[in-house]
Subunit: 335 residues, 4 copies
């Protein structure tokens, strides 16, 4: 029998992607939780079947028999929805940044505010399956990783864990994202005429996703320089990560580090040394693809990581986490 799951924020880009993926899922039936009708829906052909809708009170959600709720919402909405659902033993997968930073101190520093539910903040499990698979299964509150940190953490951890990095030289992560990462709410920043044929850096050395990378990669803040950029395209993230590893002998050794780390991972793919993935390789998939380059004479290296920000960077990873939480095959609806 199917398990019922619900989506709050189904009209946004992550919510729409959740609908696409969950319609393919053989073991759940999905309900749309109608929180706010302020965003226009697309024209539909006659007879198109849309998913059933229910109202957004905790009571209605419980009465509908929903076992897992996806919050594809801004942090402030997630902070409002999560606690009453959790109190009713409804499991929550939150796609916002509301529960990612583990401690009140860390939250205060990056969000410039007190977290209203510090107990849940500490209990939340960070949903990067490649690192925390075992903790995800029993989680009540699953905090789905940010899009930039997903790519950065997957690209960095084998390297940091190897102990072969020259950390004093620091790591540079130059990150570029498509516009869907900024959400569906209209703003001048996402106006077609401001974006097309344009390209810009933002949050230079000061992005809210940085602490998520630090917490999960094993790096300290002074070691990690991050800048985000806005690409004139819909979906995809590419991060170019520069490091110095003077004790790595050659590209093959570097490659072997990654091969070992990810050989049994269904959603991380490695390229031959010197071959680089592009966004096309991962769009509309849950893969994170990694390419490596290394200059033996100087010990400088580069990892290029690409994901689809709406899939492995949001909705796809959320379903991967749901699969783990509910004991389903991890790749169900994702391959």
């Amino acid at each position: 029998m199917d398990i019922k799951v619900g989506i709050v924020g189904f009209r946004g880009y992550s919510g729409a992607e959740l609908q696409v993926i969950l319609r393919r899922h053989a073991r759940v039936s999905t309900l749309l939780i109608d929180h706010r009708a302020d965003s226009a829906e697309r024209p539909q052909p006659l007879g198109a079947q849309s998913l059933p809708r229910i109202s957004s009170t905790p009571e209605a959600i419980q009465a509908a028999g929903i076992r897992v709720v996806f919050l594809a919402t801004p942090p402030e909405v997630s902070l409002e929805f999560a606690p009453p659902l959790l109190d009713r033993n409804i499991r929550v997968i939150d796609l916002s940044g509301a529960f990612r930073l583990r401690t009140q101190d860390n939250y205060r520093r990056w969000y410039k505010a007190e977290h209203p539910a510090p107990g849940w903040l500490e209990k939340a499990v960070y949903g990067l399956p490649e690192f925390y698979r075992r903790d995800i299964h029993p989680a009540a509150l699953l905090s789905n990783p940010g899009c930039y940190p997903t790519a950065a953490n997957l690209a960095l951890r084998p390297l940091v864990a190897s102990g072969l990095l020259d950390l004093s030289a620091g790591i540079v992560c130059d990150a570029k994202s498509g516009v869907s990462g900024a959400g569906r709410k209209p703003s001048l920043k996402t106006h077609f005429c401001e974006v097309t044929e344009n390209f810009s850096a933002y949050s230079v050395l000061d992005h809210r996703h940085v602490p998520e990378v630090l917490l999960n990669s094993g790096l300290d803040e002074p070691q990690f320089s991050f800048t985000a950029h806005l690409l004139p395209l819909d979906r995809g993230i590419l991060e170019t990560i520069y490091f110095r590893a003077p004790r790595v002998k050659d590209a093959a050794q570097l490659h072997e580090l990654y091969r070992e780390a990810y050989q049994s991972e269904p959603f991380v793919r490695l390229y031959a040394p010197g071959v680089m993935p592009d966004l096309r390789a991962v769009q509309h998939t849950n893969y994170c693809d990694l390419g490596l380059a290394f200059d033996e004479t100087t010990g400088r290296g580069v990892v290029v990581a690409v994901i689809d920000n709406l899939v492995k960077g949001a909705a796809g990873q959320a379903v991967q986490n749901m699969n783990l939480m509910l004991g389903f095959p991890e790749t169900e609806a994702l391959l």
Copy 2:
């Protein structure tokens, strides 16, 4: 009385941009030198006035009274055209990489070939006016800088010259360019369907433009990591340059370094600390715009540099050089 100048390669993107700029120029008249008719020209309205054309033999160019020839051509064509023109005392502004690397050794290393005219290679003047204005005036053979190095050198030199950098940590230059930088010759790389909604890294740690940066910025190879990327847009380069400068006190000090270096430069513009230029700010102009960010607690900094690869990165800078060579106002036809 007007001075006559000619363009070889006028059908390419740099050549077309040269036509646009030179038509605005009050002191020269321009002739198109018809080297190869293999590239289609655009449909024209009836009565459109095109520039006069002559054939491409050195004799015809001399007979036409041309004093300066722009070579908007691939390196191998420039290597063929430049010497016979220079032998006839016709000055040459070469937009290719054929004469940028100063020595046979350096050329051999990066182009994997012997330079066929090593004498001219050594005599060529590197046309970055902000650095070499005085040498440009008398030049017979002017080697116009590459697009990536123009932005990188303008962004780096005040910083390197200050002696405040921690060079052991290295400099990272993450560069992104529009497609016109790859030229007008059709290839799979520039096919619309391969580029749109896509983004990719190329020449990772191994781009031919690197030695141009090293030669003019004062950096050594192990200190400089460079990766190029292809943006899904027509024109513009943005470079995000990461450095460590532990002895810089604050953003204001950093800003002052740049202000002093460029305050009298007509084509370099500085933004307030923390404000970043985007491509829109410089497209179809000869400006290089610079934005700065600095984290005082850790000494990490970022410079963002933007240019139009076809203007300050090619045709505009070539005309700026021509103005200096012929004793015209440096900004003529460029503001």
Copy 3:
């Protein structure tokens, strides 16, 4: 001595284009009239010179000595601004649709409302210089044409006037516009992710620009079918106009009709029969380019008209009208 002109709505796309053009104009000095500061301005380099600003009361505008005000505003704002300025003998060039429909009846039909200033509605001069040059010179209130009607009227009139059309078959105008035509105010319709890689028809057979075409081309409503489409690009309009002209002998005869009509027009350019202009030919220019195709055996023909919607379709034509109103050379600042 310069004549002072002012712009209301200078932050929008038409207003920004007006600034670009008027900065090139040798005979006017331009002031920005600060009506509403609700729209973000772009980051500027230090030292960038912006035009002077004044407040938006009629008194302040009069006190500043402004002789002509451009209203680059929505119709409801134009309706509010125009009458008090006209009452003070300040001439107005309105870029909105507020004063284009000549009569209260016509306005009521298409705008479903009473026009609040029917006297001015009737006195307004329709600013299509190629048709109404003589009336424009003395105009107090100049109603600048819509973008779609500018292209359609220029494409249609020689044909309609010739009397060679089979009007019973009707005329089809299939119009496509870039996104800047929808203005700078953010909306879901102009969100990058909704537009990129997408294309759609809107206002099918029911666009507010239709009456402007009927009033000026000499067609009746049942004869004219118009549909607008949104192109995934910033600027440019292309209209493909289909007609039947069984008494036209051949393409040459058709071409001659247009050549005669526009041979002395500085901003209308004709292509050889069968050669079609694209958007690139007119972007950032005040030209309207026309291409013709004709099938002699069946009498079916097509005119393709292209303009830049922000220039000939808005700001450029507005300055062309200003030049005529003030007795300046018509092409000043526009070539």
Copy 4:
């Protein structure tokens, strides 16, 4: 047991789309027929499974046990491949225009050449399932429809068949296509910098796809005006079709015509009157979506038809035809 099928031209855009669809198909196994290796393949992650390859001689294809060959090739290659395969009783689905025009006369007129296999030309079955389902099942040589005609024929036939059109006024089909319709072979026409931010008409009143529409819609040449345009996007066709139907009472009657025609079709979807589909509705699907608008007072109407040119316009329809030919469920691998 699986049936073996092969693809010639698997590196092109239609060929790549065939691979995507056929990998999902539960009842066939697919082989790539390696005709020409002249087109670069994309970088692949390590371990990526590609389909098996065989050489392209008729003998090798027969020896491999292939029962159906898809020719995703230019007409001249299809003309070379089809006959020897058919002679060996291997069924052929040809995606080119080589066998679409039924008679030598018609072919000669539009291709300006003699058809080298007129016998096969006459025996070929035109693969538009919505019209010719019964003939498709036994076909030896299936001629897959062109992309433009697929949309046009589906949009036109209910209307033409109704007898309610005023054919003397003619039908206008204004068609716009993404760049992938031009194929993967690099050319100036498909160069990113020529296409981005541009839009153009081509083959005005003179496109090779016109006879395919005439043959299958029931229209005569003087009644049908067609112009193609190139959209700055990867995939999708939108056709805006204008007609006059004075005897149609209202939009509801028009709508009912279409509902009846397509109510049992799995891949044709209808929208409510006045609601128009956009390209996003059909990209990466095998649907043809139809929107209708009608002006009762004048009898003028518009049908908007959208398809993905690589799916319903090529590879998807080809698999739909294969399903019919092999007696599989028609929607297998396509929903």
